[in-house]
């Protein structure tokens, strides 16, 4: 849709969830997703949760975590500023200052390197640049770690030793690492800790990154993203040409839809910055004009930081379309009167189609009820819009539309035809439907069906990507990424050779490590026709496959790679020889293309510790995603003005189990609404006593930007450490103390309304992803 409309300004929810994870993790070892699965956590001996509260955000995952803890008598370490419901079940709870993930990890690595607890063989064979990390870690002796994080040496040493020695160890995270101006670096530090201890690519280990919405992994994979076309192909000409081939659309006609080729290949404006693109002077926005229109499909307005700015942004738009089962904050927040359209959307229960889970598994969902009232499902809405805009025939060229109803099966088949880069090619609708029919046959822990089963034998449930080759190739899916103990054909793999074969004379290919049954017993680059030829394996390609490869690039078929070979032949032949199509490379401890190639600690923009800013400043101002990022200027001004004296409490935010996302649906559910009837702020008893605040009192919370204020109830609890306040982010419908219920269309107002935490959150964007910083800012609280 965005491509045909000629824009890259199309983004989704994961911008504010796991954009930094995807960027950081993919830049480390190839793919930006959970390496293992929820179920596989049952195999872990040490489970470390750093920056996540799955007991509230992912309750069912606790079944796996707690069973793992019980069956293996596993260590469960929870590192969090808040003594969460998850922490209540930990064998060790570590209370840390918000925004100090990298010092915590380096503090652990300091002990690990000093005592030789690192996995030397693993690092030697499979990791690039760990020496650079060692140098950085030397700057983090225990006293500096304690000065910055507040963690005592003995505790850091203890958890480091457990994590390094009582293996397999898995690291679990969610927004507690990602939602920072240094979110990408945070995530990279986590990967490095896993690499240093040899905890990637095996059962019970890995980066178990918990995604937070139904199909948000799928939305990420399918490139509803300002930086890439579907399935991580990026935005360069090769990517566009690939997708134009898949869509059977002429490349030049696609190009003509954009302002020019540069625009076609430049990342768009992320969801975190849309109002800056609307409100900033035109000359500061690198596109022909400001953002003038927004079409919002299933995204809360109250989950994005700096809401007072968003209010102005909404008012400045020419056109606002909200396509959602509920009117959402977008519709009621501002004084906007005209040019606002509400399109009723059905829920996921009202449509067929696939959803991708956190562990890369796809599930086929059947429609449970027909869309109620005048609602439409998302496919049909998009079809109707495409028809109005005049490109439906091209957009739905290979997707059947009958009586206005779009075929979900055909959408998946189109994904299969183009999804080679990520192994989204083998999960046909037929295979996935067979999995749904045979759910009971899959093992709870391994997720595999017994080999002998006729329909799904040997498959991993939901064919987690990469599921290589065509559906007929019958790849079982990959339950654990980069797992060399299995042949590629059975779901094994190596780190992806994504970053070249050598850098400054150092090989980036693996050193004597390879997946089981590989005919190449060492590292190798990614496969192209020319690589196959050099190995003499091109003879294994069928005439049909060869013909397709010729068609893909008639001028230079040798350059056709596993990613753009639409026949799947290159993948098939590589795998028949035991090799993985994307090559056998090293994971990168040093990711030279990132703003901080080696993760470096930086204080948050509005820090509680201005004394540390001189040593650990945020990155300099720069332009990113068509708009300026002036984080450095704002951090400096905040320090110079002594903002922390006026706003002495750290404000962090997170999830409640009762509500989800922006909360419009869940706050409209009477059973859930009954459980949490008021917006609240959690505050430590000492902080409350100093302010004369008692449990359940009404309080005003003020923020350091633009006289932001919000009214809510106080929950006085030792769950919070002194000096730190916490708020849930699901509330909306109050703004700066004013109840906005009357602004909802009659009967469409949620049962529970409340202030949004993002009325108070502040400036701050990760330079590589545009991620916002709602996990640590400052506030003041007083009795109302």
């Amino acid at each position: 849709m965005a491509a045909f409309w000629g824009t890259n300004n199309a983004d989704h929810q994961a911008r504010i969830c796991h954009s930094t994870t995807v960027a950081g993790v993919a830049n480390t070892w190839g793919y930006g997703a959970m390496t293992n699965s929820y179920n596989d956590i049952r195999n872990a001996k040490t489970i470390m949760v750093m920056g996540g509260n799955p007991a509230e955000a992912h309750p069912v995952s606790l079944q796996h975590i707690l069973e793992g803890k019980e069956l293996n008598r596993a260590n469960m370490i929870v590192i969090d500023p808040r003594m969460t419901r998850t922490a209540a079940h930990a064998t060790e709870y570590v209370r840390v200052r918000p925004g100090t993930h990298i010092p915590t990890v380096y503090g652990m690595l300091w002990h690990i390197f000093k005592n030789g607890w690192e996995d030397k063989e693993f690092i030697h064979q499979r990791v690039y640049g760990m020496e650079d990390i060692r140098k950085e870690v030397e700057k983090w002796p225990p006293d500096e770690v304690e000065r910055v994080t507040g963690l005592p040496e003995a505790q850091v040493k203890r958890i480091a030793e457990i994590f390094a020695k009582e293996k397999p160890s898995t690291l679990i995270w969610a927004m507690g690492q990602t939602q920072y101006t240094f979110g990408t670096a945070n995530v990279r530090a986590s990967c490095i800790l896993l690499l240093a201890t040899g905890n990637v690519g095996g059962f019970g280990s890995g980066a178990n990154i918990f995604r937070g919405h139904d199909n948000v992994q799928g939305a990420t994979d399918l490139g509803l993203d300002v930086t890439t076309l579907p399935l991580y192909y990026g935005l360069d000409e090769n990517a566009w040409r690939h997708w134009c081939r898949v869509w059977e659309v002429d490349y030049d006609s696609m190009l003509s839809r954009f302002v020019d080729k540069t625009f076609m290949q430049t990342a768009g404006i992320p969801s975190t910055r849309w109002f800056d693109a609307t409100l900033l002077p035109k000359d500061q926005v690198s596109q022909p004009d400001n953002m003038k229109a927004m079409f919002i499909m299933g995204h809360g307005g109250n989950t994005i930081t700096r809401m007072p700015q968003a209010v102005k942004g909404i008012e400045a738009l020419d056109l606002l379309v909200v396509c959602d089962p509920y009117p959402t904050t977008w519709a009621v927040l501002s004084e906007r009167k005209n040019g606002t359209y509400l399109l009723p959307a059905g829920t996921s229960f009202e449509m067929n189609g696939t959803r991708t889970a956190s562990n890369r598994s796809l599930q086929w969902g059947e429609q449970i009820v027909k869309p109620i009232f005048e609602c439409k499902n998302d496919y049909d809405t998009m079809y109707l819009l495409a028809r109005k805009l005049g490109f439906a025939d091209q957009m739905f060229k290979n997707i059947k539309v009958e009586n206005g109803s779009v075929s979900a099966e055909d959408i998946l088949r189109e994904i299969n035809r183009g999804g080679w880069s990520t192994g989204y090619c083998g999960q046909s609708p037929e295979r996935l439907k067979a999995h749904m029919r045979n759910q009971s046959k899959f093992d709870l822990v391994t997720l595999r069906a017994p080999k002998g089963d006729l329909e799904v034998g040997g498959d991993v449930y939901g064919l987690p990507w990469p599921c290589w080759g065509t559906p007929e190739f019958k790849h079982p899916g990959t339950p654990v990424l980069y797992n060399i103990s299995l042949p590629v054909k059975e779901g094994g793999g190596t780190f992806r050779a994504r970053f070249g074969v050598e850098r400054d004379g150092v090989s980036l290919l693996s050193n004597g490590s390879y997946s089981r049954d590989s005919e190449i017993k060492d590292g190798y680059p990614e496969f192209t026709l020319s690589v196959l030829k050099r190995l003499g394996w091109d003879k294994d390609l069928t005439a049909q496959e060869m013909a397709v490869i010729q068609q893909v690039n008639p001028a230079n078929p040798d350059a056709v790679s596993w990613q753009i070979d639409l026949s799947g032949g290159i993948q098939r032949v590589a795998i028949e020889h035991g090799c993985i199509p994307y090559g056998n490379g090293k994971a990168r401890a040093n990711a030279w293309n990132l703003p901080d190639p080696i993760p470096v600690h930086r204080e948050v923009i509005f820090t509680s510790r201005p004394d540390l800013v001189a040593k650990y400043p945020t990155l300099p101002d720069a332009r990113q995603f068509r708009v300026p990022n002036i984080g450095f200027t704002i951090q400096k001004a905040a320090v110079d003005k002594g903002v922390v004296k006026q706003f002495p409490l750290i404000l962090t935010s997170g999830r409640l189990v009762e509500y989800e996302g922006g909360g419009e649906e869940t706050r409209s559910n009477k059973w859930l609404a009954e459980l949490k009837q008021f917006m609240f702020v959690e505050i430590n008893p000492a902080d409350a006593a100093e302010r004369g605040i008692k449990e359940s009192d009404w309080v005003w919370v003020t923020g350091p930007e633009g006289n932001a204020k919000a009214k809510m109830k106080a929950l006085v609890t030792e769950r919070m450490g002194k000096g730190v306040a916490w708020m849930p982010y699901h509330f909306a419908g109050w703004f700066e103390g004013v109840d906005q219920r009357s602004k909802y269309p009659k009967g469409a107002d949620p049962i529970v309304l409340g202030e949004s935490v993002n009325t108070l959150t502040t400036y701050g964007y990760d330079p590589f992803t545009g991620m916002q910083e709602p996990k640590a800012t400052l506030c003041q609280i007083r009795a109302a």
Partner: protein, 198 residues
């Protein structure tokens, strides 16, 4: 005959309220009445534990002992039920119950109590099984349909177990053995006058 019991494994309960929501939805329990709820002790402090609580369907139900109109009866599966036609909303059972199970709707001025409502183990009431009258007064009758209470069926972490006392005790024993540390199934000894021997 099976002896139906509830067991909440406090090592597993995470206060996710799935049981509460399942109960509310399955039985159409009105706002303000809590047949099941999750209680958290030492909230936010070391040693924090959450337990899902409802009527435990006691072996020797104190509610029945104190009821002045004898509205309680015990089924063959040993589920403790009551008749709302007989109940006078006096509140005695609330004082007698060690678990705070009985709930009363406010029906008039000065907070006067209506007829008592409590967990039925998803087993309805005296009316014919699965009848609209039964549903209106007591909610679903899953047990008659061969199904267990929905709260336990929907528990995120398999903390809340429901079923034949001997079977769930066996499951719990197995867990305790594997964990290698003691037992403490919350409310079990109070309700059933016995511990779980491991």
């Amino acid at each position: 005959m099976a002896r139906m019991k509830f067991l909440c494994d406090a090592e597993r309960c995470i206060d996710c309220n799935a049981c509460v929501t399942a109960c509310k939805n399955e039985n159409e329990v009105p706002w303000g009445i809590n047949r099941r709820r999750v209680v958290t002790i030492n909230d936010g402090k070391p040693g924090e534990r959450s337990v899902s609580m409802a009527c435990m369907h006691c072996t020797d139900p104190p509610c029945a002992s104190v009821c002045p109109v004898s509205c309680f009866y015990v089924t063959l599966d040993h589920v403790v039920l009551h008749s709302k036609d007989l109940c006078i909303g006096c509140g005695y059972c609330f004082y007698a119950c060690p678990f705070g199970a009985p709930q009363y709707p406010k029906v008039g001025n000065f907070g006067s109590r209506g007829k008592m409502d409590k967990c039925t183990y998803c087993a309805g009431g005296p009316e014919p099984d699965g009848s609209p009258e039964e549903f209106a007064k007591y909610g679903a009758n899953r047990l008659a349909a061969g199904k267990l209470p929905l709260c336990a069926e929907m528990c995120s972490t398999k903390s809340l177990l429901a079923g034949d006392g001997e079977i769930i005790a066996e499951i719990y024993k197995d867990r305790v053995r594997k964990r290698g540390y003691g037992t403490g199934a919350w409310g079990w000894t109070t309700a059933y006058h016995e511990g779980i021997k491991v």
